[in-house]
Symmetry: C2
Subunit: 452 residues, 2 copies
């Protein structure tokens, strides 16, 4: 059993272990708010117990559904936005045991080119849909579901399509238009747990069904999260790397850092960063406070953002997320002429070079004034990733409570939707239409700045 560890050695002198240990009372307070469910947002803590969130009978039902769909379809389109797809995508991309080419994504954009490409790509394929939406009325996934459901029905007929669509939504038909449609059409359904917010839902049916369809071992995934949960019972900040991470973030923010850069060193881990951005950004980005979560992928971005990180404004710190597995060996060939001078690397695997690059980077950034730490996982297995997801969720909850915000709401995400609905004259928004349309028109009172 391996759980995430935290290498804090490049945080000194900004943050020492003594500094972190001094925060123990505040960590204890946050821990109690979480486990005793006495903090703000306590009604949204269904994610805290992964074993209860995903009991054996539900896991069996998910595995059966995935197996049934894999018999009928080569590709699954996951229709969802934000927490309804990011966690699944993060795990499917990262896991060598999952076949990421079997899962495509829709409803996460209103881009017309993207949708047109996807529709083309699906033609002639055997495909199915997992539509994930708590309410069933979120514009992006609802629009995508209309379009893709029609295509699927046109291709295989309405009867057969019913067997190829699975809906993951609120259990209460009064709260979910998608639940009502699914019940009427006879789609298989799974529940978005009412006490789990989207960004904490990857280890519910929301994430687990697509992950199972991709071929991963979901029992091991859940077990990893459950093992990390058990380990988190100990709130000692020097024995709990999730809490230690939360405390370090809190200290660095108070020291004046305004950006946390999470860096991965392999491209297939990048969606873990996107998932992390939502988790921390949406949980903490309120009350005009908190660290801005940004992501980079190395060594790729050392050749774009590297200069900034090395010598730009000293208002950031960096958290590496690394798996140390060197199992996959892609060997560098020998070149008798050695024109590029790289024969000292002949027959080395590129993963080994990548590891040296990471070590060199962490040291260089520390020397450049960027305190950094590393979240280490031993391998990219279901168990390790399940534990990692839980590590981040738990760290986020404690970090949010230490910051003094409710980590489980997201009051700001409605602002653009209200304007959009008003501009589109959506039924129910007639009153706002005139006002918002006038404001947009008035904002245009000045001509654009144009060449000439």
């Amino acid at each position: 059993m391996s759980l995430p560890r935290l290498d804090t050695n490049y945080l000194v002198p900004d943050v020492t272990r003594d500094h972190v240990a001094a925060l123990q009372p505040y960590v204890d307070l946050a821990h109690r708010m979480l486990v005793e469910k006495t903090g703000p947002g306590a009604e949204m803590l269904g994610w805290t117990d992964p074993a209860a969130l995903m009991p054996p009978d539900l896991r069996t039902r998910i595995k059966n559904a995935a197996s049934r769909l894999r018999g009928k379809a080569d590709v699954m389109v996951v229709i969802g936005i934000g927490g309804s797809y990011l966690g699944a995508r993060a795990v499917i991309d990262a896991l060598p045991s999952a076949d990421s080419s079997r899962v495509l994504y829709a409803g996460q954009t209103l881009g017309a080119s993207y949708m047109a490409d996807l529709k083309r790509q699906l033609k002639g394929k055997r495909w199915c849909i997992n539509v994930v939406s708590k309410s069933g009325t979120t514009t992006e996934p609802a629009v995508a579901f209309r379009i893709l459901k029609k295509q699927l029905e046109d291709e295989v007929g309405r009867e057969a399509a019913r067997e190829l669509i699975v809906a993951t939504t609120d259990p209460d038909p009064a709260k979910s238009a998608l639940r009502r449609v699914a019940d009427k059409e006879g789609y298989e359904t799974f529940s978005v747990p009412p006490d789990v917010g989207g960004r904490f839902s990857v280890l519910s049916a929301v994430g687990v069904l697509p992950i199972a369809f991709a071929g991963a071992d979901v029992d091991a995934l859940v077990q990893g999260a459950a093992d990390c949960c058990s380990a988190c019972a100990n709130p000692n900040v020097l024995k709990n790397p999730a809490y230690h991470y939360a405390a370090v973030r809190n200290l660095l923010y108070r020291q004046g850092k305004s950006i946390e850069l999470t860096a991965v060193v392999e491209p297939q881990l990048y969606y873990l960063v996107e998932w992390w951005k939502q988790l921390f950004g949406e949980s903490e980005g309120k009350d005009h406070s908190s660290l801005f979560p940004a992501g980079v992928q190395y060594t790729t971005d050392l050749h774009s953002m590297g200069q900034w990180v090395q010598e730009g404004r000293r208002n950031l710190f960096e958290t590496f997320l690394c798996s140390y597995s060197l199992a996959l060996k892609v060997e560098i060939p020998d070149d008798p002429e050695n024109a590029d001078g790289l024969n000292f690397l002949s027959h080395t695997g590129i993963a080994e070079v990548n590891k040296k690059a990471f070590e060199g980077t962490a040291l260089a950034h520390c020397d450049g004034g960027v305190p950094n730490m590393t979240i280490c996982i031993d391998d990219l297995t279901e168990h390790s990733l399940g534990a990692l997801l839980y590590f981040y969720e738990r760290a986020c909850a404690v970090s949010g409570y230490m910051l003094g915000v409710n980590p489980f709401n997201q009051p700001g995400v409605e602002a653009y939707k209200k304007n959009m609905f008003a501009l589109m004259n959506k039924p129910g928004f007639e009153a706002e239409h005139a006002e918002v349309a006038a404001r947009v028109a008035n904002a245009r009172v000045d001509e654009d700045i144009a060449f000439g």
Copy 2:
């Protein structure tokens, strides 16, 4: 002829046109440093005249090479990192007239999974290589070139492979190992202009050859840049949107903003943001100053970073990059039952909904305390994109000079490389090996923070 425009209306009250006009003397100074080549980095201004950078005979040679390669190969692998691929990828992804499925990328990562996947993907395909490296010794592309050259030679034989490899590198064999190899092997070659830095090289052979291979009209691309260049002869900040953009960034930085968020509203434009991040981050991220460049893709990221942007710390501003084309219509079907309540959108194209979402978002973010502006292009054609690339390059140069830095060097990018070479015991780094290895070992003096 259409050139980028700048909609500044959501900058008020933080930045008014009077505020910007008051910066005219500083803009004039930066303009003169640029056109009279009297500022720092003046030896790297080869990009400023796009017509001279890409004269007709060079364009013809590039088009002929692309045409020859398209006859022999269905897929081109562009091997390069940073400025050696980002510009090409940005244009190829964004342009509807380019076939992005024909161009793959390598040498931009040391990830073993990525390389193993790419090698598998190429098997059985007709493919060619454009290796882009000024020196030919940058680790990531050099390693990828060794691996892929061997695969290509194994697949088609060494003779045939020679016809399928094109090198873009420094013209001077003394400065480029790749030039020496190419001359010896008889590869077709193009030059990385010695007076153009990687991040300003998209409109040289570096970017134009892959873009031509993807099927785009490179004459129109260059013409767009040249037209934008002509228009930039006017330094009047109210008549030059590139300079206006630079001045606004400068004002907002001085007002205390520390992050610029560039937002696109279609996924295929995302690599323009990655290219922009390198352009501005590497040009300005020095002397411990400058705005941190971050990117988002809407509406996707409104469901992850949206909360933070709406209500997080008020230390950011936002620049939308929008094309207003609604040409591609992917229609929303009618649903007689209207369960999702979206029948008010029946038969609407999703691009129209996306446009309303953008308008609603810009207003909501302004209301939330995030000043924002929009760079507008009329369509996604070669001409418009060429003009846009030049717009950003010119704005970046002026912005950097206004900030007081040399926008054309990148002293910080060597730091991690030196450590990496030392750790790998690269010939020439023997002296540093012991020291750096000891520092990395010493940094490990504390155990990781682990559960238990």
